[in-house]
Each structure stands twice: as structure tokens, then as C-alpha cells.
Amino acid sequence: MTTTMTVAAPADTTAERGGSSILRQLGVDTAYILVGFPLVVISFVLLVTGLSLGGGLLVTVIGFPILVLTLWIARGFAEVERLRIAPVLRVPRMHPIYKRAPEDAGFWRKMFTPLTDGQLWLDLVHGILIFVPGVATFCIVVTWWATAVGGLTYWAWDWALPHESVNSAGIVVDNRQLPELLGFPDTAFVRITFNLGVGLFFALTLPWVVRGCALVQAWFSRAMLTGVAQLREQITGLQVREQTAQARTAAAASAEAIALRRLERDIHDGPQQRLVRIAVDLGRAQQQLENDPDAARLTVDEALTHTREALDELRTLSRGIAPPILTDRGLPSALAALAARCTVPVELDVPEVGRSNPLAEQTAYFAAAEALTNAAKHSGATRCVVEVREWSGWLAIRVSDNGYGGAHIAKGHGLAGLADRLQACGGQLIVTSPVGGPTEIVAELPWSTVP
């Protein structure tokens, strides 16, 4: 069975603690216990009968289907109980995983599969044993309710009770009430006051007593009905976390590989070519110096131009690896410098955020850089906005433009590489770019501030 656990935030138990919530909980708990009583009685009777009948008849073949039927009945009661304990324990409803025979399994296989399911047997044991707490809590709750309501309303029906010690037939009846036994005079005032006191005491303690009863029974059910499922869920959670970690490592490796490849290509196409050209030019100039000094001057001029351009390219490359201003001054200054270099006018909305670890800072910076480059190159935008927000350990950078959209993570290496980088540091990239625009790129990542 592939039903999954409902993952929902547990109901807020601290926020609402007024009188109305106590009353509401009292209602929930009382209903749970009162409805529980007939359920546990029926379940006890059916299951004990089914178990003894099925067990006794095991030697004949007929015992197996009876046992399977009993298990299915147990499961039915268990499902009802799981539904019922959710509001009492204020947790989402749990769905344990039951074994299921393969679709193509034969009749006997299908017949035997429930018999090998541990959770079904737990359901059966629960359906029988719940009788004990179910009856006990029912007695307590009924007693408490009765005493509370009876005591509080005693003044209204005191008159209907016989109080004389000799009845109309002249027979002595020793009709003594508790206050009388305690030595108080047997007057209406004493009886009413006494019963009112008792009623008050029971009424005031009622919510807690009922809550306690409901919790005892619900905990018992939870342990037997969802304990195994919870354990399994925890294990699955661990596996998911491990998979996420693996995905992050893979993303980091992929991002790094892409970045290195790009860097190699950029060095090869840029500064390396220039330096070769400069070497050639200087070699030529050396020869020209003797025969044709004017030509030599021109050649050296050219070499100088290439030198300047090589330096420019190297600078751009270094900025692409680790921008010095980011290292020196942090994200806001680096973003300001980035915006100043962008060919499209950029509006900045960047509060002072603290310094974080280098990986987070670089990832945040490159998210903005890549988004701005995209906007300037492909979007036809005439205006960009860069916004930064920081909240409880997270940082979000939003780059929006007024271009004609159509940006996609899968398209170029740029955004795909960026998505990898963000995943590698535990963040995510959200690209909203309908055809026709506008484009909005949001990068969110963990941001732990360091002094």
C-alpha cells in the first residue's frame, strides 16, 4: 500500500488557551470516551469470537478465512480509532502501511498475505485489549460527569427525594445521606450546600480528569496502531535527507565542473590568445627596430593595446571567480558595484545584511550577477530591480526586469548552473518568466550571519 503520511503542522496548542478552548477540548475528549465505550465492547466481542473461532478451526481449512475476516474487522476498528485519536492528541491522522499481495498473486497467496502483516495483528491485539482502558475510562468519565451535573443541579430536585426516616406505611427506613453520616444535621440547606460543593469540585476537575482519561486511551491506541508506522516514517525521513544530501553534493560537483569548463574556455579564448599575440608583436618589433623604427613603434603600440585588453579580460574573469569587493566589503557593496557595471539601469533595494560564509555570499552574488547578465543580454529589458531580504537564517534575492521573458532553467548553461550552485548550498532558484515577460528570478539560500 502506498498511502503516505499526512505531513501537516501540528495544531497550535499554545496559541489558543482560553476558556472556550478548554470547553471545546472537554467536548472532544468526552465524545471520544463515550463513543469509545460501545466501540470497544463490540470490537472486543467480535474479535475474541473471531479469533477463537478461527484459531479453533485452523486444523480445518475454514479457520483461515475466518481469521482473515477477523483481521479485516480489526483493521476497520483500527482505522476508526486512528481517525478518533487525531483531535484528542492534536496530531495529523496517521496512515500505516499495510502489506498487499501482488496483483497477479494466486488465491492462497492473497489469502495468506494479511496473516503475515504485523500491523494487522497489532490491530487485532489492540481491538481486544482496548476493552480494558476503554471500560475503565468510560466508568470514570461517566461518574465524573454525573457527579458534577448531579451536584450542581441538586438544589432543583432535592424536594423529590424522600427524607423522612419513617415512610408512609409506618416502616422505619434508615435513609441516611453522606452529610448526615458525617454528623451534619439533615436539613435541606446542608444537603444542598454539601452537594453543591461536591458538584463544584467535580465540575472544576472535570476537564482535567476527562483529558487524562482520553489521553491514556489515545496513547494506548497510538502506541499500538501507529507506533510502527511512525518508526517507518522516521526511517524514510532519514533516507530522504540522505538523498537530498547526495543530490546537493552532485549539484555542487556539477556546478563546479561547469564553472571550471567555462573558465578554461574563457582563459583560452581571451587572455591566452592576447598574450600570444603580444609575444608575436614584440618579436616583430624587435626585428623592426633596426630597419624600420616607425613600424616598430606602431607594433609596440598594438602590443600595448593588446596588453590592456588582456588585463581587462583577466579582471572580468577574476570577478567571475571571486569578486574582490565581495570578499572585502560584503554583499550590499558588491551588488552596488555589480549594478553600476550593468548596461541596463538597475534599481537596488538592498538593506544592510551581515557577512555570511564565503559560499553563501558568492552564491547570492552570482545569482544576482547571472540574472542581471541574462536580463541585459537576452531579455530586451530597459530596467531591472534587485531586491534583497533577510529573515531568520535565510536570504532571498529577487531580480526582476521589464523584458519579454521566456527565460528557462533548462535553456542556457547560465541558469542551470545557477540552480546547481543554489542547490549545492541548500537553497533554491525560482524562475518565473512567461513568454512576453516580465521575468522574475528569485534565489533563496540559508544565510547564517558571522561576526
Binding site: L311, R315, P324, A336, A339, P345
Partner: protein, 218 residues
Amino acid sequence: MVDRPLRIVIADDAVLLREGLVRLLTEQGHRVVAAVGDGPSLVEAVLAHDPDVSIVDVRMPPSHTDEGLRAAVTARKARPGTAILVLSQYVEMSYADDLLATGPSVGYLLKDRVAAIDEFLDGLRRVAGGGTVLDPEVVAQLLVRRRARDPLAVLTAREREVLALMAEGQSNTAIARRLVVSEGAVEKHISNIFTKLDLSPDGDSNRRVLAVLTYLRS
């Protein structure tokens, strides 16, 4: 502008470039009184030699971040008015802001500019003489970051060129030479710019630079 040979302190941890600079400046008749390789030594050298101008690299030991810049600011606090020309592989407006905040006789240039020797020496002399010199790339950063309602839109293309050169700290003569126009034409452009941007014209070229920069950064 100073025409006499200058006494210069050089601070750069890259020995190759430091030696190149020493050689270049010595060949041009200037005197390098100290060549150091980190921030604290720069402050000491400035205090010990009281140079006409110091040439400082931004990234230096011990921190290998903006050490040179901070040392320059410290040196100028310790000895107000000492001229400093900062050289860097990168120029960023936010670094320039720190320098400009300490008053005039500062310069901030890309290291590449040294290759254009005449312009570099000219800039050096202007800084030593109390001027302000800014790298064209910094100025470009200032000019590019304009909002939708761009006040610079009212300027003509030529006026923008003149404004950029003014922001770099160039004199009227230098601007005229660079744009191949007469000095009178430059003066006319400048007065137009000041009128259009609603700035008060000022004879002192350094205060003029600062006024333009303040305007651009606001």
C-alpha cells in the same frame, strides 16, 4: 600641478610591479624614498619621509583585502593632506568613496593606466599638487547607474563627455586636448552643464571635481 621632481613612497607587495614602478619613476627624474610591501609599513614610511605623493596598492598583506586603502586612510588621518595615489587591479566606486571622504589630493587608478606613462605621470603630479584623479572606469560606473528619470538625459553627448572628464579630475586644458576642441569651447560646455544640472560654477578645479562627483553619487 607640480613640475619639480617628486619624492615618492611606493607600497605594493608585488615585487615585480614595485621594481617596475621604481625604475619608471627614477627614469623620469623622480626620487623613490621608500618602497614597502604592506599597510603598516606604508603608514610608517609616510610619517618618516613626508613624501610629495605615495603610490599605494589596494590589496596587500597582512589581510590581503583592502589593506592599502585602509592604510592610506590611516596615513591621511595621521598626516592630513598627504597626497596618495591608489592603484588597483580593480576599481570600485565604494573604494573611491572611502578615499574621497578624506579630502583632496587623492587619486584612484587602475594599474593598467601606468602603461600610458605620460598620462600616469600627469595624474601623479596633479595628485601631488592637491588635485583629485579618478579612473575613467569609476566615472563610467557613476554615469551608467541612472534611474528612469535620468537628470543627465538633458545633456548632449558632448556635454556628457566633458562631464566624465571633469569627474576624472581633468583640467580644462586637458579636456580640450583630449576632445580636440578649443579651451573656450570646453568652458562653454562646462557652463552649460552647470546651468542644466543646477550646480554653482566654481573656479577651483578640485572643488569643481568634488561638486560633480557629489552630484553624480547622489
